[in-house]
């Protein structure tokens, strides 16, 4: 009998072209995504006199540098000369190399990690790469997806293969049922707080357990998106009927008889019952609360009912030193209740939390209420923007005084000028609270869309569950 294998093992084994002594494997890459930031790799490729070897397995989208206002003006809306040049350069590199390109004006444009699943380019069992660390997102559909730097991206463009060492496996099992108001974002922040930002270094994480199984595909994408913030090489979740229903009928999904054949293959992918992982971590999902970060590393996260820790009480020297620096940067004091933190502005969007479910969760909180601080919402893709508008969500946002923007990476990466002013404190649904991430001197508190929406209303960190319970607003329900 064959040895029991994990989901990861099965995908890895079926993609190895050759293996060298010492464990170096040449892996076939099914799908590779490029964006404006990929210009270093295209430039290096051209310098070598090479072209993209398998154009049909490569997909391009403009997301990192696109403006989120004035999009009807096209490239003229891009204020920065370098950024405008990069957006044009991507289009040109795709034309030369015959790669499909979803540019700024394309109705399918969006954040690369949102449109991949949305168009059905992302499928179970595939190897997926992109020159972006949040490529781990795509693993939510049962793929092995990981980010690379420019040199490895160039190699993939030139060959559609990559030399890799087989990573180790870590299974994170989240048992129980999540309480109402606790989302995928809270689950993954709790995992990172528990294992640390280097907790999964060298490992592929498989998220499992009843709490994970109970998540929608959108919420699973959020969880896998932040696998990299735990140091994971990739994050993945076994595909199931929820994934198949999500994919069925999407543009790049197999059709007709191919669908049935693909489905039969996908059903073989989940980890075998007695498959062995190199490491195991378990969390009680029922005990989780809405989470947010207080520091400058995603592991510096606590439940909303918590207080800023005293760095001197942290067991590990590295954590202590980091926390001291983080509190100075964030201008926060030990012992302070998280709900006493004043918030200057809020951002909902990004590849972490820019999907329809996230927009609906924000709308459920904002309906009939007013934002008291500058607040932005940027949908994860242009089709999602249209869908949200068809559902009337844009009306709710606009009535609440929230800016309803076009789709792009926006304030998460702050590459397009959507930055947070120095010294300001931003409630953000993005993925990184590093110093300067959202702009020089910007202070980021990561949280879920519902929590960020609550902060929009109160101007401070707020337990969204209490806000919805205490207010007489008609939107008091809607957090499932």
């Amino acid at each position: 009998m064959a040895l029991p294998r994990t989901l990861f093992d099965k995908i890895w084994d079926s993609h190895v072209i050759v293996e060298k002594p010492g464990g170096d494997a040449l892996l076939h890459i099914d799908r590779n995504f490029v964006h404006e930031g990929s210009f270093h790799a295209f430039g290096a490729l051209a310098k070598d006199g090479r072209k993209v070897r398998m154009p049909r397995q490569n997909f391009a989208v403009a997301d990192h540098y696109v403006p989120t206002v004035g999009r009807d003006r096209g490239l003229a809306a891009v204020e920065d000369d370098d950024a405008r040049h990069m957006i044009g350069l991507l289009e040109e590199n795709c034309r030369v190399n015959d790669i499909v390109h979803y540019g700024m004006a394309d109705e399918r444009q969006g954040i690369v990690h949102v449109i991949g699943p949305e168009l059905g380019i992302t499928q179970p069992g595939l190897t997926i790469t992109c020159g972006d660390s949040h490529t781990s997102t795509h693993g939510a559909l049962g793929a092995y997806a990981f980010g690379t730097g420019a040199s490895q991206l160039k190699q993939i463009l030139a060959t559609q293969c990559l030399w890799l060492k087989r990573p180790k496996t870590l299974r994170v099992t989240v048992n129980g049922k999540l309480a109402p108001g606790v989302t995928g974002k809270d689950v993954v922040l709790a995992i990172i707080a528990k294992i640390g930002t280097a907790g999964a270094t060298g490992h592929v994480i498989e998220f499992a357990g009843t709490a994970i199984r109970g998540l929608s595909v959108e919420a699973r994408l959020t969880v896998c998106n932040m696998a990299i913030e735990a140091g994971g090489r990739a994050g993945m979740i076994a595909p199931d009927d929820a994934v198949y229903e999500y994919l069925h009928g999407r543009e790049y999904a197999p059709q007709g008889a191919d669908w049935d054949k693909a489905l039969a293959q996908w059903r073989l992918l989940p980890s075998d019952d007695d498959a062995r992982f190199d490491r195991e971590v378990t969390l009680d999902g029922a005990a989780l609360e809405p989470m947010l970060t207080w520091g400058t590393s995603p592991e510096e996260a606590l439940p909303v009912s918590g207080r800023i820790p005293d760095p001197q009480t942290l067991g590990d020297t590295n954590q202590r030193d980091h926390a001291l620096q983080a509190l100075a940067y964030m201008d926060l004091k030990p012992g302070m209740a998280l709900t006493d933190i004043q918030i200057d502005r809020a951002f909902i969007g990004s590849c972490t939390n820019g999907r329809i479910e996230d927009l609906r969760a924000a709308a459920a909180v904002l309906k009939g209420r007013k934002a008291t601080i500058p607040a932005w919402i940027s949908p994860g893709s242009t089709p999602l923007k249209a869908q949200a508008e068809a559902e009337g969500l844009d009306r709710i946002f606009l009535d609440a005084g929230v800016e309803w923007r076009a789709s792009g990476c926006s304030s998460c990466a702050a590459m397009n000028g959507d930055s947070v002013p120095a010294g300001q404190r931003c409630a953000s649904t993005s993925n990184r609270n590093f110093e300067g991430r959202q702009g020089k001197g910007a202070r980021t508190h990561l949280m879920s869309p519902a929590m960020a929406a609550a902060a929009m209303i109160t101007g401070r960190v707020t337990d969204v569950r209490k806000l919805l319970a205490s207010s007489p607003s008609p939107s008091g329900r809607g957090l499932g």
């Binding site: 072209i17 050759v18 010492g22 170096d24 040449l26 076939h28 099914d30 930031g37 270093h40 070598d48 090479r50 398998m54 049909r56 397995q57 920065d80 370098d82 950024a83 990069m86 972006d132 660390s133 990981f146 980010g147 690379t148 730097g149 420019a150 040199s151 490895q152 190699q155 060959t159 293969c161 030399w163 060492k165 990573p167 930002t197 280097a198 270094t201 060298g202 990299i228 913030e229 140091g231 090489r233 197999p254 191919d258 054949k261 693909a262 293959q265 590393s297 590295n318 954590q319 030193d321 980091h322 620096q325 990466a413 702050a414 590459m415 990184r432 590093f434 300067g436 991430r437 020089k440």
Partner: protein, 204 residues
């Protein structure tokens, strides 16, 4: 790629864990072209190295006279975590840093260093701490890294062996280019692709 064999260079101590790639190079510089005329050295650690007016912050380690010409960094755990930006490696290299010694590295950054002929040296936490203490005590002192022997010699002459994957080691020693190594396998690649895509025609 420039081969890496041995390196004796001034080593700068970085007493911090989780140095992310946003800190190594802030995002606004990633749009900049990099060529022989314009390197990335001035972007390295930009927002902790310079103040709002672009003046050097005197307390930042690489601004201190002893470490201005550092060729090696000794850092805390999880160096280069976060974003996949290879600009972090370009900034380190263009400044003149060819090796980083740390207890652990972010996976993507580790691969990016290797791809550019930089050596990431992994040594245990207590040894890294000891090296940083020595360097603080003797500002401007050098460390010697010997890749063939897999050793770091500290300022006292003590030798610390380190582990590195033999495949990575060979590539660094010879300065091998991954694309060349892939294309040697072209017949196997084509045979694989034909069979693979025949069984899943919807993928292409």
């Amino acid at each position: 790629m420039k081969p890496f064999t041995t390196l004796t260079a001034v080593a700068a101590p970085f007493n911090m864990a989780n140095i992310d790639t946003d800190r190594i190079i802030p995002v606004r510089f990633l749009r900049k072209l990099r060529n022989a005329k314009a390197g990335y050295e001035s972007y390295l650690f930009h927002d902790v190295r310079f103040d709002g007016e672009g003046r050097e912050k005197p307390d930042f380690v690489l601004n201190q006279p002893a470490w201005r010409k550092a060729g090696i960094l000794v850092a805390g755990a999880n160096f280069g975590c976060g974003s996949s930006r290879e600009g972090a490696v370009y900034a380190l290299l263009d400044f003149g840093i060819r090796a980083v010694i740390a207890p652990s590295f972010g996976d993507i950054h580790y691969a990016n260093e290797l791809q550019n002929g930089m050596l990431p040296v992994t040594l245990p936490e207590e040894i890294c701490r000891g090296l940083r203490d020595q360097l603080q005590a003797k500002p401007g002192a050098s460390l010697a890294i010997d890749l063939p022997a897999q050793t770091v010699t500290d300022t006292l002459g003590d030798i610390h062996p380190f582990m590195i994957d033999p495949v990575y080691k060979e590539r660094l020693l010879k300065g091998l280019d991954d694309i060349g190594l892939v294309l040697e396998q072209l017949p196997a690649i084509e045979a694989y692709e034909e069979k693979y895509h025949a069984s899943q025609p919807w993928l292409v």
